[in-house]
């Protein structure tokens, strides 16, 4: 029988034929937590009496959500995680290393891996062809102890993507458009599998942006094939040996096939307070923006900073608008400094946060005031997300965000480039 990408990966890992709907007990290649879900995970692990981690070398604790810590409570959570990592001999990152999902993509994930993380955006590694999904602290605690977890093999929705992006339109606009079509629960419990001519030419950075937001349609995973782009990406990190090709079988059964011609897309924005509440940027012109935030596991990579710097070069942020930039990782920050993007952004008026989750989830630096509006390149705009339930969050590509930083209102980037 022909299999989807999701069925292929889970079947190979479990060494049995699997079909959508089956329940499988699967081995876990990487299990991780971050600093706001980690302490509960560790406590659940300790209360389960496993004694030791199933695989310390593939158990990772990331300090990224509140990094560096803004208060004593979170500092004590960091200390708790550092103490655990020392005793359990597992991996832990340092503040300033970057967002967990970026570091997983940069240095850990392999095509065909099963990756579970106590963070919903764990789906990001689907860009490399990893079956990667978010779970809660108790599930991850059990994965820490057993090295296994259970899955219901998901039905797949095939997203057949064709055409060439028009000027000013990016992968972020595509995934916002898709979430608008599917709705915030349109892919709940399912796999989104991306394929088609546009996907074959898509950079890894674009694939990670799209996979990252598949959970905003409710999906369990967002999967890309592993191909030459994946191989080149792994080689660029010095781990070409981790590559293996991975594609769905011809004739696999999909619950649904959606065809999208990206040439027809325009710069797209999610409006408050749900991600599926999408409109075109040009329809929202005139909406004043007090903060622009460029960064996160969705759009904090070198390619994103390059687009933003290209638009902001020689310009200044609007005097009523502050621009905050958080590179997704230390590597991204170093590369962006070398390319001159950071100097360009600072000259335009940006303040640069340390690599990490930055202002995305309202923990520190970049919290909005009452009634303020933010245009963010992140993945969520729920009420209260950026630290204030009285504020309004719009989501867009880095190009739309950078253009809007110049004008002080939501702006179609084609107006300024």
């Amino acid at each position: 029988m022909s299999k989807t990408l999701a069925e292929n990966i889970l079947g190979q890992k479990c060494e049995v034929e699997v079909r959508a709907g089956d329940i499988v007990i699967a081995p876990v290649d990487i299990a991780f937590v971050q600093d706001t879900t980690g302490p509960l995970t560790v406590r659940q692990f300790q209360s389960s009496n496993f004694g030791r981690l199933a695989s310390p070398e593939t158990t990772v604790l990331f300090l990224d959500h509140a990094a560096p810590s803004p208060n004593l409570q979170l500092s004590n959570d960091h200390k708790f995680l550092r103490d655990f990592a020392r005793e359990a001999n597992c991996r832990i990152t340092c503040v300033g290393d970057g967002v967990c999902h970026q570091l997983v993509a940069e240095s850990m994930a392999k095509p065909g891996d099963i990756i579970v993380g106590a963070d919903s955006h764990t789906v990001t590694a689907g860009g490399l062809g990893s079956f990667a999904t978010g779970m809660g602290s108790t599930d991850i605690a059990i994965a820490f102890g057993l090295g296994k977890t259970w899955f219901r093999v998901p039905e797949s929705i095939r997203m057949a993507i064709s055409g060439r992006f028009a000027r000013g339109v990016f992968a972020k606009d595509l995934i916002l458009h898709i979430i608008g079509l599917l709705g915030a629960d349109g892919a709940t419990y399912k796999a989104l599998e991306f394929s088609g001519g546009t996907v074959a030419d898509m950079s890894m950075s674009e694939r990670l942006t799209i996979a990252n937001m598949s959970v905003e349609a409710g999906a369990k995973v967002g999967l890309f094939p592993a191909d030459e782009i994946t191989e080149d990406y792994l080689k660029s990190q010095g781990r070409g040996e981790h590559y293996r090709p991975l594609v769905p079988d011809n004739g696999a059964t999909y619950e649904q096939v959606m065809e999208i011609d990206v040439a027809k897309l325009e710069p797209t924005v999610s409006m408050p307070h749900t991600v599926d509440n999408v409109a075109l940027a040009r329809e929202l012109m005139g909406i004043k923006i007090q903060e622009v935030f460029i960064g996160t596991c969705t759009n904090g990579r070198l390619e994103d900073l390059a687009v933003a710097a290209g638009i902001l070069k020689g310009s200044k942020c609007h005097r009523e608008t502050r621009l905050i930039v958080a590179p997704a990782s230390r590597r991204v920050l170093l590369d962006a400094m070398e390319a001159g993007y950071i100097q360009t952004l600072i000259s335009a008026g940006a303040s640069i946060l340390p690599p990490g989750c930055g202002a995305c989830l309202g923990l520190h630096q970049g919290v909005l005031g009452d009634g303020e509006a933010c245009l963010s390149t992140a993945n969520r705009n729920f009420k209260g997300r950026m630290g204030n339930p009285e504020a309004f969050i719009y989501l867009s590509s880095p190009a739309t965000a950078a253009a809007s930083a110049i004008t002080g209102e939501i702006t179609d980037p084609r107006e300024v480039v």
């Binding site: 879900t37 108790t138 709940t188 409710g218 309202g362």
Partner: protein, 164 residues
């Protein structure tokens, strides 16, 4: 048999409504965190909810973050079950892993303040206030087994792993 009063919510109640990021510093102080449960959806909820009461919601309850603190503070508030038209994937797993029942049913006919009676073994929901009776959808067997043990940790401690 579960019995309690309904607190009715709409569609798309996110984990940020239930326990927002701005309170992340309280996540290692759960009693304090629980005082703010659902604050951004209904600021009076935490002070009015009583042990045994139910949360009844629309579609896609619990969407967003993987933070298990969301079902945890709901459970700590004494809520005995969540009824919704649909529930986000991670929240569903998290609630069951904590031994907090979730019933998927058409919640349109249940009103805020109604008294409900729920028989978990038969999944029958009776609205005492308006006399309606309905059955909830079946929970997958693997999750029912976990729920019946009181959560994932007691389940793993009993069986030593997952029953395949």
């Amino acid at each position: 048999m579960l019995k309690g009063k309904v607190f009715k919510f709409g569609d798309s109640i996110s984990t940020d409504h239930i326990t927002p990021g701005r309170l992340a510093h309280l996540r290692s102080n759960l009693p304090e965190l629980a005082k703010h449960v659902l604050e951004d959806a209904d600021p009076g909820f935490a002070s009015r909810v009583k042990p045994g009461d139910f949360i009844v919601a629309g579609s896609n309850f619990g969407l967003g973050s993987s933070r298990e603190h969301a079902p945890l503070v709901i459970k700590m508030a004494g809520v005995s079950a969540i009824l919704a038209k649909s529930v986000a994937r991670i929240f569903f797993r998290n609630a069951i892993n904590l031994g907090l029942p979730i019933l998927i049913c058409d919640t349109a006919l249940i009103n805020d303040g109604d008294e409900l009676e729920i028989d978990l073994s038969s999944s029958i929901i009776r609205d005492i206030t308006n006399g309606n009776e309905m059955a909830s959808g079946k929970i997958p067997a693997v999750m029912l087994d976990i729920l019946n043990e009181g959560g994932l940790i007691p389940y793993i401690q009993k069986y030593g792993g997952f029953n395949s």
